[in-house]
Symmetry: D2
Subunit: 135 residues, 4 copies
Amino acid sequence: MIRSETKIRVRYGETDQMGYVYYGVYAQYYEVGRVDAMRSLGFSYKQIEEKGLLMPVIDFSISYKKPAFYDDEITVVTYVRDKPLGVRIIFEYECFNQAGELLNTGKVTLVMIEKVTNKMCKIPDWFQNAFNAFF
Amino acid sequence: MIRSETKIRVRYGETDQMGYVYYGVYAQYYEVGRVDAMRSLGFSYKQIEEKGLLMPVIDFSISYKKPAFYDDEITVVTYVRDKPLGVRIIFEYECFNQAGELLNTGKVTLVMIEKVTNKMCKIPDWFQNAFNAFF
Amino acid sequence: MIRSETKIRVRYGETDQMGYVYYGVYAQYYEVGRVDAMRSLGFSYKQIEEKGLLMPVIDFSISYKKPAFYDDEITVVTYVRDKPLGVRIIFEYECFNQAGELLNTGKVTLVMIEKVTNKMCKIPDWFQNAFNAFF
Amino acid sequence: MIRSETKIRVRYGETDQMGYVYYGVYAQYYEVGRVDAMRSLGFSYKQIEEKGLLMPVIDFSISYKKPAFYDDEITVVTYVRDKPLGVRIIFEYECFNQAGELLNTGKVTLVMIEKVTNKMCKIPDWFQNAFNAFF
């Protein structure tokens, strides 16, 4: 299993008039979380695109337990519980505030796509191998 | 059943470097869709808050079939398939592009909260009644 | 002079915890305004990019007089007061709420860039001509 | 003079289809910069609001020299060159990428407002004093 932690400070522009972090903002927090998880494996998402691959999201779900507020320091915990298989990779998430309260849990599924053909493609060996070391 | 349609033109700032509408942007499109659905029942979400109620999202899921692109005219179709019950109301979604292609489907669950107590509360009669007419 | 009007309904996710539309959101509203202004001349910004040109912003300024609130219907008035000259084009703005109150005024300067060379380039004749008809 | 530095990693969702950080995103980067500048004086913007004060932006301008790209590590340098005076405070900015290239310069003017009256008010002594130590 892969597990990585990312700290994110809530920006004012991310709150809404309820005083909560807007529910759509977590898509960005989760994105930052999985990019950090990949970085901990030794490569950046940027490099993936430089190799002519894209990883769009095909599935995203999130359950909100408690709101986050302005200036909170959020910990995004990102998990990869299963080796990437075929064309897809699944990231799972837990967000906590600075008091250690669970804010939300979620799941994001990405697929790999070849930029030139715009078709799904098998996850390449170098990517697979970086993950395999953790399982 | 309630069914409402909303047109949204994709803004440049909503695209990402893949050229797709960023996956987190649909949270806003869905929000616009359900606000329009409520407006078709004769009240605005703004009025709900003016009555001392809030409706935070507690669950959001979305499956992406195809990307949307800059300047696309998206049709967000919003459904309420069941009468709001107790404290919660569920909106379901389909997004289409101008070619009629299905872009994504999703589901958002909201709960009603009393602003002063910050506690969940039963959906009030005036709200319930507006929906009942459609079922 | 070119003058065009665009209506934008404020989204919940665009407000901040002050209850105001976040000050950075107007960059998007202005973008929508100038895209509409171009559309009224007979072409879309999308077509400009399809011709291998980009129009990044090099200067943006805005003075806020009054806040906009959730669900307000904003009118963005976009002006081009001078013919585009050389590599640049200037858009000026006024935003009003549904009560006709002036919310802010602003100015955005864009330059034209050739995608392949990534260098600034003279505004092409077909673009210049579309504007000339109004001056 | 006050000078503070903030590092911000560019998120994927902040890029647009040009591959640039969208021009409106810097409003958030600048916000993060000035909040950090205040924090270095010993208080958070959050505390300001807890004391019943708001600080909306009344003026924002930015000149873009070079684009930022996905995954860039931006340094936002925030300056307060003059003591806050009367009701307003001015922050000036420079953004650099990891190669030390100047990306943009900008200026944001905020005013102080009393939440209950919704009127501008003189900057309070405790706020003024925190700044005075640096001039």
